[in-house]
Amino acid sequence: MRIRFLGKPKEIMGGVIELNLGRATLREVLERLPEDVRKLITDGEKLKMIVLINGVSAESKGGLDAPVSQDDELTIMPEISGGSSHYFWFSGQRE
């Protein structure tokens, strides 16, 4: 599985890494990352950054429980110029 990083995670991990994990959930994939990077991406309950699975939002596929397979490509990026992850919590509370 190929994982591409942007922003601060890229500084720590480099641009791209390969993982051999077979079928897994996104949560299980993230658990394989160093703690300092993982904490940037998730608080364990929700995603704090944008994660795309083959270009499709992980949020629309189950968030941390989204299924991923060995052939997938993940892109992990901050919420640049679009509102922090907190926005989504906040807006969710208001509806």
Binding site: R4, L6, G7, K8, E11, K39, L40, K48, I50, L52, G55, V56, S57, E59, S60, T75, M77, P78, E79, I80, S81, G82, G83, S84, S85, H86, Y87, F88, F90, S91, R94
Partner: protein
């Protein structure tokens, strides 16, 4: 009023050379907050329909809000507004500048400038002392030299707003600038200032900003500055700021490339945040009361401006780099410096240069028409043409009128790729694949500007291509926070947007500053009021409305991206119309985008109805 607002407005009539201080109506303060809210209320009340934006009758408004200048993160913003000479509608912008804080300290919430000075002038405001001074010595100076001269005369801590030669020459996208590179008023607010023969405004204040609970403001401020520094991406933000967005936008096929024909650019990494940090960045600049400065100072390493420095962010570089096919940062920085010194908007400059290039490549204009050969990536040619635009020379004088005018002048179907909405050039996100962001640009209340319209990150996170009423509602919510609250409170949104500073801090600051309890529900209502009044202003000026005025150009619907991960993407017109209909319905506007009477009443804008009915029939 217990605090937050000073309770005073300064009116200056440049024709008569007089000024007067008025009380701020407390109801206006409570219902419209300040900044953009004050500006649109004033323009609606006082500007007759059909006023020539470059005539003495137009009003130039400088407005703060109840949070401006207080000990709150990034509270140093000033809104500049007028009827726009570029769009013919409501126009404004905000500037991070010492002038914002100085205006509050001088004892004013806003300055309303009318008339036209007999000769080039400087408006000097020092607390209660207001003078219109001879500015002939400064006329013709670029914004950097004018800033330096005014700092020498009035002191480095003065709040200084200046226009450059482009504002003097009435370039339609001239801006007001401050402190060498801080700029605001994309829809030609600098040209309005130039039309008034007003070269500069200098503000000095020494009064305390009134606060309902000063101790609480100080406490919240101390906690907030600490909170921001503790955020996960604070250090990365401080190093790269919005420039990290170059790589981000490219990865998401949203980086404006070749006049917004594509969303990916092969040389993106040469003009992105990493390249900036390693090669070009020499310093950092921020607004008053900011501990996450976004101004990256870069040195130009090669070319005719070698050794000079210039402040950039994502929008500048995306529009003057990839959108022109430029992968050499030196050219993008050079174009940015030319724009800043002359006092024009960098986004619009990038847009008109790209439009002209596409027109030439399609054979709609010749080298003879333009006076030079334009081709993607040819930095030297762009520098030459940019100088002609900012000085309104030759072919440059056509582009200086904005891309909408230029496309009308050239004709031959060029309107399709004139990248604007309502006459304002689209800022730096390609929307072939992003219908929500396209709708955000389409409905942005000054024309296609990102300050109201950052929807793309939400769209990527929650899933691209979704056409639903829920998305339209979410966009309205987001516009209300960005363009309603922040533009009127007058404070910077970046702490929230970029590092995740909690929105719940703001009602606390409002309470401590003003003594008034505002919930976010209250602030959404205020924002709805302001958005609907801005729309009413446009409708009054246009004598009606059309859905096409809320729709991006045909290119994004008809000519798909050909490269990158989203190759083949284009907007679907039926889907866009559905989204626009939901947007109107949830704003309480009719199917032509005109506010309904019931909406105007609900928002306390019933006084708008009689005047609006003179130009258009309103639906209930």
């Amino acid at each position: 009023m217990r605090g937050g607002w000073t309770g005073k407005l300064l009116r200056v009539d440049l024709s008569k050379g007089k000024s007067v201080v008025q009380d701020l109506d407390p109801k206006v303060a409570v219902d419209f907050l300040g900044g953009r809210g004050f500006a649109v209320k004033t323009l609606w009340d006082e500007l007759p329909r059909g006023t020539d934006p470059l005539s003495p009758e137009n009003l130039l408004i400088l407005a703060t809000g109840p949070l401006t200048g207080i000990s709150m993160p990034s509270s140093g913003k000033l809104v500049v507004a007028a009827k726009s000479p570029l769009t013919g509608g409501y126009g404004d912008g905000n500037i991070g500048t010492r002038a914002s804080v100085q205006l509050k300290k001088a004892g004013y919430d806003a300055v309303i400038i009318s008339g036209k000075a007999e000769k080039p002038s400087i408006l000097s405001i020092e607390n209660d002392k207001v003078e219109i001074k001879d500015g002939r010595d400064l006329w013709g100076l670029d914004t950097y030299k004018a800033q330096e001269e005014l700092e020498r005369q009035y002191g480095k801590n003065s709040g200084i707003l200046v226009i450059g030669p482009s504002g003097e020459k009435l370039v339609k996208f001239a801006v007001i600038t401050s402190e060498k590179g801080r700029a605001g008023g994309r829809p030609g607010i600098g040209a309005v200032m130039g039309s008034k023969n007003l070269k500069a405004v200098v503000i000095r204040g020494s009064k305390e900003i009134p606060l309902a609970d000063p101790k609480e403001v100080a406490k919240l401020g101390a906690e907030s500055f600490k909170d921001i520094k503790s955020k996960d991406n604070y250090d990365f933000w401080v190093r790269q700021g919005t420039m990290a967005t170059v790589e981000w936008a490219n990865a998401n096929a949203a980086l404006p490339t070749y006049n917004m024909s594509e969303g990916v650019f092969d040389g993106y990494d040469k003009v992105g945040g990493n390249a900036m940090e390693k090669i070009y960045k020499i310093g950092q600049k921020g607004c008053p009361n900011c501990n996450m400065p976004c101004g990256n100072i870069n040195e130009i390493k090669e070319g005719p401006y070698k050794g000079r420095d210039t402040e950039v962010d994502y929008e500048n570089i995306a529009m003057l780099g990839p959108n022109l096919g430029i992968d050499n940062m030196n050219w993008a920085l050079t174009l940015n410096l030319i724009a800043d010194e002359a006092g024009v908007d960098t986004i619009s400059l990038g847009s008109v240069l790209a439009f002209a290039t596409e027109a030439m490549k399609r054979g709609l204009i010749s080298e003879g028409d333009a006076g030079l050969k334009l081709d993607w990536g040819n930095g030297q040619a762009y520098v030459e043409l940019a100088k002609k635009i900012v000085n309104k020379e030759g072919f440059g004088s056509i582009l200086a009128e904005g891309v909408a005018y230029a496309s009308q002048k050239i004709g031959k179907g060029s309107e399709k790729f004139a990248m604007h909405v309502k006459g304002l050039e689209i800022s730096a996100y390609d929307c072939h694949a992003y219908i929500g962001m396209a709708l955000a640009y389409g409905t942005s209340p000054i024309g296609a500007h990102h300050k109201d319209a950052w929807f793309i990150s939400y769209e990527i996170r929650e899933g691209r291509g979704v056409v639903s009423e829920e998305r339209a509602k979410k966009l309205i919510w987001m516009q209300n926070v960005r363009g309603g609250f922040f533009e009127s409170a007058a404070a910077c949104r970046l702490p929230w947007v970029e590092v995740g500073y909690d929105l719940e801090w703001y009602p606390k600051f409002l309470k401590a500053a003003t003594g008034l309890d505002y919930s976010w529900d209250d602030l959404q209502i205020i924002a709805n009021r302001i958005y609907t009044l801005m729309r009413a202003f446009w409708v009054r000026e246009k004598g009606g409305w059309s859905r096409s005025l809320d729709t991006p150009p045909a290119k994004w619907f008809e000519e798909p991206q050909t490269k990158g991960p989203l190759a083949g993407s284009k907007l679907n017109r039926d889907d866009y119309e559905k989204m626009l209909t939901w947007y109107y319905e949830n704003r309480g506007w009719d199917q032509n985008g005109i506010p309904r009477k019931s909406t105007l009443r609900r928002l306390g804008l019933d006084w708008v109805i009689p005047e609006l009915e003179r130009v258009v029939s309103l639906n209930e």
